[in-house]
């Protein structure tokens, strides 16, 4: 017969009361001290926060062709802990897990043993990235396996569909998707956008159930850039530059083509070049955008920037004749200045056309250092042009108080000063557009992800600083047309368009002075003369002297070929007859013949005689 024991009952009651007290205590703990920990643990179990990467904006040329874009790729990630738990809990064996990893490894092209080892090493981790940049078919195969703890994350990779075209302008991106150089770096924040996030609710199997509206912030995709670059002109520029540098076996070359009335850069090339898709395959030297960051002594291409102000300030006139008694002339303090060829006395017009060092030295002596310095700085030399590219160099123009007596003649011949090809192009635009100093730029506008124009750059031509009066600009431009007809670039004249240009051949500075055998050859020009649509600067460094080294033989042919192809592409009408020099000039010009101007049947563009050695004195023979 059952007996009732009060002591047993007490024990049971105490036990129940104890259990109840523990439960109350636990609840109290969970609601007070342990509340935060508990909630965060539950949140971690039920939710996963995913970062939604913003798509990097594309870069388009001025015609709307994609120069840089982003492709969607897929990354494979695994939650090793969850995967292992699932295989153990569901009554499967770990052998089955290895089998699953075998299948996965076969799809992504990885050894299953390595895969298992990687997951084993990070067994407690909840996120292990296993593969990157998977294609669509691989993704479909992986999804078909329906493995627990295996997920696919969309990502994007930078792609440059034009290959190496405009590589120095675009720059390139690192593996983290951020710009490393060029426009990719300059406009990184615009291109990058802002990533969003999604807080996914998961079920007990950690399968995504959904995302609450308040748990979702859409990524703000980056803006698209529309450039001033014309990829067709860029291709032509790169082709001509490459052909010329290879022909004369130069060490490198730069090419700039811009619209002189707006400052829009239409093409900007360097050679050798690289592919921004595979940055690691190229050296830092090759990736340097020398047209913008590497100044050099320009030599005679600098002379028009002295002659123009000299005309404007009435220091001289185009028809003033200067005494040039011999090939070598001595300055008042005894410095020898040498010309390449002796023409006898020359007027200022011809001094520019034949690039006379002696005439320029005499002119600079007359101008004096103060006005010379003022002339140079008016054209923006010694300052950054303001182009929207990183690390632009401002070149070298010493302060006036650092100039020596020799500076007068050195500067007159384009030495003791350093400029970038871009600065040259900008300065020459002054003559091309009637005297205004433009700001070179590459960004035409920005467009948002939906194709809506966000910003558009407009240039107010009238508000630009006036460097030279329009008459002087037109006068210098007209003089420079003769450079291609009967001057230092004779033989490169175009049959269709009148081109105004200036050559330069500068010795390269070495450790102990200037080299006698190594030169930088350059040519800057604008066309058509009547209403310039293009300003072009071409520089070839250190050409093989046994092939050619003068600017008129090395750089001018490439620049003129570019102009002919570019103006044809731009459908610019051919030029009318070039106006003859003013009547007062006819009597003072060297070897003047009206037929030179009127006869347009002068044959096709004469190529520089590349096979014959080009000896003789350098164009700018400066005592360093």
């Amino acid at each position: 017969m059952p007996t009732f024991s009060t002591s047993s009952a007490k024990g049971i009651i105490i036990m129940i009361a104890g259990l109840f007290a523990v439960m109350v205590g636990r609840v109290a703990y969970l609601q007070t001290y342990g509340r935060e920990t508990t909630i965060s643990r539950a949140d971690r179990q039920q939710h996963v926060i995913m970062t939604l990467p913003a798509r990097r904006g594309d870069i388009y040329d001025r015609n709307g062709l994609i120069m840089a874009g982003s492709v969607q790729t897929h990354d494979l990630f695994i939650d090793p802990k969850f995967m292992q738990d699932c295989f153990q809990e569901d009554g499967h064996s770990l052998g089955e897990m290895d089998q699953a990893l075998d299948q996965l490894g076969a799809i992504i092209g990885q050894d299953s043993f390595d895969l298992a080892k990687m997951l084993g090493d990070r067994a407690t981790s909840r996120f292990v990235k296993v593969a990157e940049n998977l294609d669509d078919s691989s993704v479909q195969q992986i999804e078909a396996l329906n493995l627990p703890g295996v997920g696919i994350q969309a990502n994007s990779a930078r792609c440059y569909p034009m290959g190496s075209l405009a590589a120095h302008v675009l720059g390139g991106c690192g593996t983290d998707g951020n710009g490393l150089d060029g426009l990719e770096l300059k406009y990184n924040s615009l291109l990058s956008g802002r990533p969003g996030f999604a807080r996914e609710t998961k079920d007990a199997q950690r399968r995504p159930i959904g995302v609450d509206a308040q748990d979702y912030l859409a990524p703000q995709h980056g803006q698209h850039l529309v450039l001033t670059i014309d990829s067709n002109l860029q291709m032509i520029a790169e082709q001509e530059l490459r052909d010329e540098v290879e022909l004369v076996k130069g060490s490198k070359g730069e090419f700039v083509a811009m619209d002189p009335s707006t400052g829009e850069i239409l093409a900007l090339a360097n050679y050798p070049t690289f592919n921004p898709q595979t940055l690691s395959d190229s050296s830092q030297d090759v990736r340097r955008n020398s047209a913008v960051v590497a100044p050099y002594e320009p030599g005679s291409t600098f002379k028009p920037f002295i002659v123009g102000p000299a005309f404007m300030w009435n220091v001289t006139t185009p028809w003033e004749v200067w005494s040039i008694p011999a090939l070598t002339w001595y300055t008042p303090y005894g410095r020898a200045i040498t010309d390449v060829e002796h023409y006898g006395d020359l007027c200022t017009w011809d001094g520019l056309v034949h690039s006379s060092n002696i005439l320029m030295s005499q002119l600079s002596e007359r101008m004096g250092n103060a006005r010379l310095h003022q002339a140079i700085t008016r054209f923006g030399f010694g300052k950054r042009t303001g182009i929207d590219l990183p690390r632009e160099d401002c070149g070298v123009v010493y302060n006036l108080n650092k100039w020596t007596r020799k500076s007068t003649e050195s500067i007159a011949q384009g030495y003791e000063i350093m400029v970038t090809p871009l600065q040259l192009a900008r300065a020459f635009s002054v003559y091309a557009n009637g005297g205004k100093l433009v700001t070179p730029h590459l960004l035409l506008g920005t467009v948002d992800e939906n194709g809506k124009v966000v910003s558009r750059r407009a240039v107010n031509f009238d508000s630009l600083p006036q460097v030279i009066d329009p008459d002087t600009a037109a006068e210098v431009r007209r003089i420079l047309c003769d450079v291609l007809i009967r001057g230092t670039a004779e033989g490169t004249r175009s049959k269709i368009w009148n081109i105004a240009g200036k050559t330069g051949t500068a010795r390269i500075a070495e450790a102990h002075g200037y080299s006698a055998t190594r030169f930088n050859s350059s040519f800057m020009c604008c066309a058509p003369y009547e209403n310039p649509r293009l300003v072009v600067v071409c520089v070839v460094h250190d050409p093989d002297r046994t092939i050619a080294h003068y600017g008129g033989k090395v750089a001018a042919p490439a620049a003129v070929k570019f102009i002919e192809r570019a103006l044809t592409y731009m459908e610019v009408p051919g030029s009318p007859e070039l106006p003859l020099p003013p009547p007062q000039m006819a009597g003072v010009l060297f070897d003047y013949s009206e037929k030179d101007y009127t006869d347009r049947n002068f044959g096709a563009i004469k190529e520089a005689d590349e096979t014959q050695p080009q000896g003789g004195q350098p164009e700018a023979a400066v005592d360093p």
Partner: protein
């Protein structure tokens, strides 16, 4: 009441799941469009076109064919 609430909660979760799935599909399609856009860009890049046209004896407008004449007063211009 509790059952009704649970049912409503379940419906909300289902709806969120479907929305999420649809959203992912849209994003995947958008990604495919981007990829196709880039694939077209690769094929139509100026250098790719130039390489494709090279040696094909095509009568293209511009280029060297136009050099040597002025089309300002060319009676055949535009024909």
């Amino acid at each position: 009441m509790a059952v009704a609430l649970l049912e409503l909660r379940q419906q909300r979760l289902n709806l969120a799941f479907e929305t999420n799935k649809l959203h992912n599909q849209i994003e995947a399609s958008q990604g495919q469009l981007w990829n196709q856009q880039l694939a077209i860009a690769v094929a139509t890049a100026p250098d790719a076109l130039a390489a494709a046209a090279k040696g094909k004896d095509l009568k293209l407008t511009g280029g060297e064919a136009a050099i040597g004449r002025s089309w300002v007063d060319d009676p055949n211009a535009g024909k």
